[in-house]
Amino acid sequence: MRTKSVVVLCASSVFIGAFGPVLAAENGPGPKVYSGKGAADDLARIDTVVVIYAENRSFDNLYGSFPGANGVAKASASTRLQRDRDGKPFRELPPVWENLTAKGVTPPVTQAETEHLPNHPFYLDDPKGFKLSYGTITHDLWHRFYQNQMQINGGRNDKFVAHADSGALVMSLWDGSKTAMWKVAQKYVLADNFFMGGFGGSFFNHQWLVCACAPTYPNADTNPAKPSIAVVEPDGVTLKEAANSPKSAMEGIPKYVSDGNLTPDFYAVNTMQPPYQPSGNDPAKDGDKAYADPAKPTTLPPQLEPTIGDMLSLKRITWAWYGGAWQDTLDHGYKSPVPNFQFHHQPLNYYASFAPGTAARAEHLRDGGLAGTEFIKAIDDGKLPQVSFYKPQGDLNEHSGYADILSGDSHIADVVAHLEKSPQWPHMLVVVTYDENGGLWDHVAPPKGDRWGPGSRIPAIVVSPFARHGYVDHTPMDTTSILRFITRRFELPTLHGITVRDTAIAAHGQKPLGDLTSALVLKDK
């Protein structure tokens, strides 16, 4: 099958340049994980894969009290204890700057009410504490590429507060046991050793979901993006603090010389806007209305790396990315607080392969509808492609600052209920996960990987008739484990970033990252 793939690739001159890295990876050093034909035969029982991608929750934040999981109760005292920027333990946590609750929430939880919290995790829904409900929108938290690494602090996870913009809030937890998705996790498989593919935020992690790669901005130092280049200490991980930065997190939010979107060698690691509409950046005056103004410093140039979508298309596997409120935003523009479409949550809209006017865009970048109606219709009609990605619209994605847990969790549970009744259900695998931790503390050290990740631990739920029902899967995995499954199931060429990650994990003596099959029982079914 590997040989066949290469022949197909070479038959198309269009693909030769674009897939160079893949060919190199296929022939280069590193683990060859996906060559077993027998495994693919077993996996052929699954012919529909659905990935549902929510927002910004660490594992401990939402599932830290799940029975049988590696939860908060198992966190060591040293991990629960947070340290200031000078390495000394806090006597108490700093307050949540600018209030714990989002603007407009009544009654608010003010900054003053969050003063003097003890130096350990606390529950937001504690009836003796803040008594918040899942329907409360809370303050957002930094979730950025360099800060995430500084917070993880080599696996100690003791600098989350020190490098945050939200004080104590990073240590907040929820008793998630009353959520609808908690029940889904109890019925199927909760993975409790699953990490976000890349350090930092949504932009970067969505890229990891589709490409297992860091986007690039060529020659960023000679164009308007230059001020967005981060200034980093020689270790390549620590942002250079500004002279006027508060010395202690008790005194305020840290300041940096340049906390930009680009690394010093021009990889885009924090939020940039798509080069195509819908984008946060308007078209250039007199420019193509389907494009974003390329002269804007936050417009990322079209990306050329192969994605999992390219690989699926190469093997004639049907697939689609369903973006909630995609068409509504194209037709009527950005609206908030509902649907609050997020431009940087549509990762394939950054790629030249899916530029406006291409057949690939029309076929694969689909409208999920308002509140997921179009996606749900495809589910109910049994018309999902072999691989689907579903991104809920902003108000339904569980992101702090503009969304609550209840709305998104209920929506996703409803989508799962539709999937369970779909004509395609008997041969389906569904993965519900979060793009990243949203800046929220988690006590488990991520596996040592490559320059880009893995980052903090996030929840992941595997739903399928083939799932090990009522099971907590401790296998180490990350976002690329989803790509590993898709790659193995459909016998695709391996994306270069997966090969690099496998090699890095092995070089650090870590256990190999799984491909979701540990959550399944495929034989004798």
């Binding site: 209030n99 989002a102 957002d140 939010i253 806007q273 946060g280 600052g401």
Partner: protein
Amino acid sequence: MDVDKVTALISAAGIELTDRRRNGTDDGWSLSFSNGAVVEVRDNGEISHSGKGAEAVARLLGQP
């Protein structure tokens, strides 16, 4: 309201700061956010906003 306060209020609402630089006339800061809003915070305290998410940031800043 200074530039740090404006940034904090908008970021707290989950609208990520994507660019911060001195404006073209060097009399204030130009801030870009993930929802497409651009906020000008002049050194004299004047604030103006434009772009796709301008209405959302205006609400957060208590401005018309």
